[in-house]
């Protein structure tokens, strides 16, 4: 019997993989939309080039974190060469596990008072 894949086996995720999963968590996207959303989510600090994006997607497809989608939001308007990707149930679980792991790291950093005053508010801590 095939051993079920453990979510912990996939952690920690690289920033690129984490942000791609995050972008896919609220709907399917094509490659360029993913590049834009990751750049927007990270305030421009992580800008994926085509090589990095499709290298990640290749590995994420083989790890079954994402899958290709056959559906097109609007076939009339869209370039037929574009492929759409969506997060799998397993990918969503891995994303949640990674978010929990990061939250624990943030919590540990907060307990050691490593945040600046500006970021304390973002980290959800009362002054």
């Amino acid at each position: 019997m095939k051993r079920p894949k453990q979510m912990g086996d996939r952690l920690p995720l690289t920033p690129a993989v984490f942000h791609i999963l995050l972008a896919l968590s609220d709907g399917e996207r094509h490659g360029y939309a993913l590049m834009q959303e990751v750049a927007a989510d990270t305030g421009g600090s992580l800008q994926l080039g085509p090589g990095t994006l499709y290298g990640c997607l290749k590995r994420m497809l083989s790890a079954r974190l994402v899958e290709e989608s056959d559906e097109r939001p609007d076939p009339e308007l869209d370039d037929e060469r574009r492929r759409y990707y969506r997060i799998t149930t397993f990918g969503a679980g891995v994303l949640r596990a990674e978010a929990d792991r990061l939250a624990s790291a943030v919590s540990a950093a907060r307990s050691k008072r490593l945040f600046s005053r500006k970021n304390l508010a973002l980290a959800g801590t009362r002054l």
Binding site: D9, R10, L13, T14, A16, V17, H30, G31, Y32, M35, Q47, L48, G49, P50, G51, T52, L53, Y54, G55, C56, L57, K58, R59, M60, S62, A63, D79, R81, R82, R83
Partner: protein, 206 residues
């Protein structure tokens, strides 16, 4: 809307990027070349429309670094893992094939390069080790796609046969079949392990 000169620039850059994509390994190129070109063209057009032609320089610098890093990474993945492991896995098979040819040659010509089995010899045990390793290696080297699954099946067969030897040896109180079984098991596991590790390293290399 782009002016005609901007449009010419865009088409020229797309042609250059299309040529750059030939640096990626064939498999990767086959899967993603068209999409990467679409993403590049859309990105370059957006930058031109938003920030003007001068911003293209910054865009191209970013894309060039991305291209350099990812072509190296994809090429490195291709050349250091798969073919190296494939050759490593094929080696026991080549040795086995050479021994088989020499023995067959002996049967036909009446001259055995490899002497008849001395069943207590270290050579026979090494032979079982190599045969099991070769069996698993054939599974992973020859059959394309889903190599890890094929390797597991081959390993399972080796484990069953090796266990058979060990059990028969134990029942008949003979050390020789036990030694054969243990050697076969070791050969199978050692040929399988690199593939298992390779499969794990392929999970998320970015």
């Amino acid at each position: 809307m782009l002016s005609s000169s901007q449009d010419r620039w865009l088409r020229w850059l797309c042609r250059v990027y299309g040529l750059m994509l030939w640096a990626y390994p064939p498999d990767f190129r086959g899967d993603y070349r068209r999409e990467m070109l679409v993403a590049f063209r859309t990105g370059a057009r957006d930058v031109m429309q938003r920030e003007g032609s001068a911003a293209l320089l910054r865009f191209m610098r970013h894309v060039s670094w991305d291209w350099l890093y990812t072509t190296l990474r994809e090429r490195t993945t291709m050349t250091t893992s798969m073919p190296a492991l494939r050759w490593g896995a094929a080696l026991p098979l080549a040795i086995l094939a050479a021994v088989a040819v020499m023995r067959l040659d002996g049967f036909i010509l009446g001259f055995n390069v490899v002497p008849d089995h001395d069943f207590q010899s270290v050579g026979t045990n090494v032979g079982f080790f190599l045969m099991a390793a070769a069996f698993v290696s054939v599974g992973v080297s020859v059959v394309p796609g889903r190599k890890d699954s094929v390797a597991r099946i081959a390993l399972a067969v080796v484990v069953v046969l090796a266990t058979g030897f060990v059990v028969v040896g134990a029942i008949r109180m003979l050390m020789t079949p036990v030694a054969w079984g243990v050697c076969a098991l070791l050969g199978g596991v050692l040929a399988y392990l690199p593939w298992r590790l390779h499969a794990r390293s392929q999970v998320l290399g970015n």
